[in-house]
Amino acid sequence: MSDWLTYTPETFLMFSERTYRRLFESHNAALWPAHLAVVLAAAVVFVMLFRRAAQSGRLIALALALAWMVVALAWFWTRFSTIHTGASIMAAAFAFEGLALLWFGAIRSRLEIARPTGAFGWAGTAILTYGLLLQPLLGRALGRPWAQSEVFGLAPDPTVAATIGALLLARRAPWFLWTIPVGWSLFSGLTLWAMHAPDAWLPSGIAIAGTAPALASRWRRKQRTPLNANPGL
């Protein structure tokens, strides 16, 4: 039997589900009452989405950028590193995404968020809403205590989900902003699957629900663009 066939997601799982959940519990306890500020920020992002303020895109990008950087430092570097030998690499990746969102979204204003319309718009809104506000409710519905909630801006999965929703709503978001959120979603899904968690499908499902419309939209735009209109050809 080839050695490669013996590797499964479980092979790389370094901790039990109980340890993983309890880590969120100690994370939340250590950061409380930062949750109140985070919920407020999430509500502001949500309001900005439906108001046609000129700076909506910048403000949403700024909130997302800060969330990614807080997760990099507070979750991966400080907390997750106690149970995962690769946490510092994950911290670097999340910090990089935060800086990229800050530069391209908040400073250069290249993350213009459209008011949700059509199927794609509402899909993006649903994913964004889930990441910003609803993920803790799902955890509770699955029997996890409130103390172990995963909260936007403090935990990776809801932060990534909110970002995928925002990127889906953005007009022509730079492709590389998708890379780390999608990569994390797949990794998180495999981790949860290895732990036999009932919501293991969700991160990957969100990544697919986010990227498929974005890729379809990009493909349609290319189809509509006449060859001779492309200065690169």
């Binding site: 370094m14 309890r22 100690s26 995962h84």
Partner: protein
């Protein structure tokens, strides 16, 4: 070798041994001597725990040890750390000695060291560790690991997953020569790199090899385990429960009624006794973070061991599930 055949005997209320019972004991002693010759070096420890000899030294260690992959990686959580210490306490109370860890196991090393210090068992443990890094950083990693464990020196250091074994093994042998280490070994798991492992076993001086073996994964019976016997290499078995999958696969079934003949009261003991009854196996290292489970596991280090016919019966029963 002798099997712990007398573990289940009961004398009469007056404390006298009747003639029939005495004959049974003599028969059991004869049978255990026969089984001992057939199956290696099993022998009861003073506390009734079955031990096996490390071929290179003759030192005896209990056949059940304690792994720490995943289960002891609990970070800084004080509650979970206390639970791990409770698992270690029960392990030592059950007669266990060998605890195995690795730099790859997150916070496990520090959790073990803290638990040993808390229990006052630092001098009692048979410490089995690994080196898992580049050659340049190997010595530093070993020293960091030793500080986590809070032990003066390790009993056993193994090259984890054969990483840079060509260069790590000479370093470990130098440590052994200098009295900074007692035994040298290599590890692999899940049946990976078996041919390379066999090649190293043939050509290098090893005290231990650690591999994966259980009632479903028995490929090593063909070559590697006999080779370990031929070369006088002690064998540590990891993943005896296939990381829990074996237990999950059989736990809905009742134990066969004949499991009592080999002193098994639960599936964990059934599966562990299969592993440690192989004559080449020195010690199995099931991992758990549950006190009740470690108590069950330690039960596999007591009582009669299955003979070859019983081992075949055990395989047939599990594979029929």
């Amino acid at each position: 070798m002798t099997v712990n055949a007398g573990a289940k005997h009961r004398s009469n209320p007056q404390g006298n041994i009747g003639r029939r019972h005495a004959l049974k004991l003599i028969a059991a002693a004869g049978a255990s001597t026969f089984l001992g010759r057939a199956f290696g070096t099993v022998e009861p420890a003073p506390v009734g725990v079955i031990t096996r000899a490390i071929p290179s030294s003759g030192e005896r260690i209990p056949v059940i040890g304690l792994g720490s992959w995943r289960t002891f990686n609990v970070g800084d959580d004080p509650v979970a750390r206390a639970e791990c210490a409770a698992v270690m306490r029960r392990f030592f109370e059950g007669g266990g000695r060998l605890i195995d860890s690795s730099p790859m196991y997150g916070s496990s090393q520090d959790v073990i060291g803290e638990g040993l210090a808390k229990l006052g068992r630092t001098g009692e443990v048979f410490s089995a560790e690994k080196v898992w890094t580049s050659v340049r950083e190997g010595a530093d990693q070993i020293e960091r690991t030793r500080e986590f464990w809070r032990v003066p020196r390790f009993d056993l250091l193994q090259v984890h997953n054969l990483q840079d074994w060509e260069k790590h093994l000479p370093m470990l042998r130098d440590m052994k020569s200098a009295g900074k280490l007692r035994y040298v070994g290599i590890t692999t798991s899940h049946g990976r790199r078996t041919e390379e492992t066999e090649q190293i076993m043939r050509t290098e001086q090893l005290d231990f090899v650690q591999v994966t073996y259980n009632i479903r994964d028995r490929e090593l019976e063909e070559r590697l385990l006999p080779l370990a016997q031929d070369r006088g290499i002690a064998v540590i078995i990891n993943r005896p429960f296939q990381e829990g999958a074996l237990i999950r696969g059989v736990e809905r079934r009742l134990l066969p009624p004949w499991a009592g003949e080999i002193g098994c009261e639960n599936w964990a003991q059934f599966l562990l006794k299969f592993v440690v009854s192989h004559p080449a196996v020195t010690c199995a290292i099931p991992a758990t973070s549950v006190v009740e489970h470690v108590a069950e596991n330690m039960g596999a280090a007591r009582g009669p061991m299955p003979d070859e016919a019983m081992r075949r019966r055990m395989i047939a029963y599990v594979e029929g599930s």
